[in-house]
Symmetry: C2
Subunit: 150 residues, 2 copies
DNA sequence: GCAAATATAATGTTATTACATTTGATGTAA
DNA sequence: TTACATCAAATGTAATAACATTATATTTGC
């Protein structure tokens, strides 16, 4: 369905106005779906993102400040997100030896196991997208989004 | 900059994985910019969206349930958003005569004036996007997003 | 070396979100 | 009509987000 039909707005001022609204609407739509996939595993989207950042560097530690920098939503509080993950024993927090201000965070094996399970769920979701856009179209869409942020 | 550089993740599993991450990152990027544009006017993005929905129907009233349906973020509480807007005298709330369960909401002239000011701000922002994507590309991007949600 | 500036994470606070529940009105079927 | 289900909005709530502030540690300029 076109964005006009989805939000019942007949016209937009120009293609950029339409794009902004469409982008936010579609992103909410995806985020919602992702949230519901994560719900049975008692993870929020942000917690999931942090875990994936940590897995990307495993077995190296990542500082809280690096997590903040790399999060999709910069404004979330990485410190408190890490708190939650520590409580669930999905990550481990240790003082950084070379800089006592910083805190090193590493994903635990429990965290890696959880991510492995979620990889399957995520792959299923990606297959659904595959039915809607070809690989080339998905790539093209990504490239246009990159250019929008330039 | 490509999404890989932006979030310092070297590779994605496939074009769909890359797309999902890119979509959320870009949407947050736009939402952040929009939020900062709205801040001097003491409006949240959601409140702004509600006002624009109401202007779209002006001078006809819109029910709270219709607002919920048409909001970009379905989960926000339209009832409480309307509350905030009533406090600022940007909208007016009256009992729907044909259905006493429902509530009619109409934008006030103060609300319309505010939106008019914001139209200028918004247009400036759209000009920035214009430097990054052509009209055709913006349209194409919108269409790909539409297809993603099909 | 030392004071000031900056960096890093944690914490405080208020508003908002994501639901669940409640209150009241309307529709529907016996 | 009278139950009973459904619908619309409001309200309760716990968690989270969006900042601002604080507490330490490090860096920089003198």
């Amino acid at each position: 369905m076109s964005i006009e039909t989805d939000i019942k707005q007949p016209t937009f001022r120009n293609p950029y106005h339409r794009l902004i609204v469409n982008l936010m609407f579609t992103s909410n739509w995806v985020a919602n779906a992702q949230m519901h996939l994560l719900k049975p595993y008692d993870l929020t989207l942000q917690q999931y993102n942090v875990l994936r950042i940590l897995r990307g560097q495993y077995p190296n530690p990542v500082k809280v400040s690096d997590i903040t920098e790399r999060m999709l939503d910069k404004m979330s509080n990485a410190s408190r997100l890490v708190d939650k993950l520590v409580l669930k024993k999905l990550v481990q927090r240790t003082e950084c030896p070379s800089d006592r201000r910083a805190v090193d965070v590493v994903i635990t094996s429990k965290g890696l196991d959880l991510l492995k399970k979620l990889d399957v769920v995520q792959a299923d979701y990606e297959v659904e997208l595959n039915n809607k856009l070809t690989d080339e179209e998905a790539l093209q869409l990504s490239q246009l989004l990159d250019r929008l942020r330039r």
